[in-house]
Symmetry: C2
Amino acid sequence: MVAHRTIERLSVYRRIGTLMHGKGTMHVFSHELAARSGSTAAQVRRDLMLAGITGSPAKGYLVSALIARVNAVLDHPEGLQVALIGVGNLGRAFLAYFLGRKANLNIVAAFDADPAKVGRVIQGCRCLPMQDLVPTCRSLGVHVGLVTVPADQAQAVTDALLEAGVRGILNFAPAKIRVPEGVFVEHVDITALVEKVGYFAARQNKETP
Amino acid sequence: MVAHRTIERLSVYRRIGTLMHGKGTMHVFSHELAARSGSTAAQVRRDLMLAGITGSPAKGYLVSALIARVNAVLDHPEGLQVALIGVGNLGRAFLAYFLGRKANLNIVAAFDADPAKVGRVIQGCRCLPMQDLVPTCRSLGVHVGLVTVPADQAQAVTDALLEAGVRGILNFAPAKIRVPEGVFVEHVDITALVEKVGYFAARQNKETP
DNA sequence: GGATGTGAACTATTTCACAGCC
DNA sequence: GGCTGTGAAATAGTTCACATCC
């Protein structure tokens, strides 16, 4: 079990590594990964160490080995099956973003309560009605739910995902969702983030460090 | 200067407080805020203490005083002016979400490079061309930039925002952006978050704690 | 000389636990 | 009895610093 922050950064290192690999770069130093990921060289070395990735002082880390090892740590053997619930603007943004991007992370189903959206193919993904959520997610073996519905529907959607056996939820609704022990929830609160940026934008370097 | 995490949670407590206030609730206990925000009672008390919010053992915290004090800590006197750059699906989602929601947090301008979008009013906000970014943001006194453009445009947009005097950026592009000392950047990396949820969804309670 | 790998130190954040109050 | 306010302890996360290697 690797630490939360390290897992997020490994995903970033892999993206950078994949980009470099596509350009034919074979090796990378920790300070290069740090510069491209917004981290520090010491942090990168620590993260790679925790993931069991090893390099050499002469050439740094082998890009292909880095990618392979992050794959082994992060990826599910059969790929990560993701369901999207709520095909509003935010949901469509994620559909467009993940569509055909990466073989190991697939949005395999999209759901919406709006009858006008159900049945239509949006960003290449057919929009299904809410009552199909439990059977469809169960039969597709969905691991993660992306919740992009309004706040008042978040708990109902969560309960359905739980019933379908989903054990991880990324929640963009501005509402707390209740889940049983053992289910992992990540909550992205846009308002809180904007207000945080506003707060620290005003105060950077204005007070004693 | 209050800690990062505390600032985010204060925003959440205020949203909950505002909701309760609207329903006529006068007082709230730390364990109630904890249950509604996904935190713990001790964490809530610590956060409120750090913000200078004080309650009584008998009645808990006065909701109106909590809101007023969070306002004083988080808000800019003239309101937080936010610019949105990139009116794709993600940008439209934020426009729709923030439109008329809260007097103290306004998206005051939206920009896009696509000539087909420029000039149109999208979600109640007129879309302006990129070359207007610097003068418009400067004259409106924009504090925070919401970057929702593709990765390859993120740095150019950032540089323009910096030139316009913006000191805080919320970046949704999957790319690291360089800013000078004193500018606050929050990077939301959707891919990393989905992969993190996938990782911990599979591993919750499967390994020794 | 400049890199990795990593124990140790440091900083940030959360939780415990309890005195004091109603 | 249950709650607030808060030192103190515990935990999580980051950075330092240096032995070691190429």
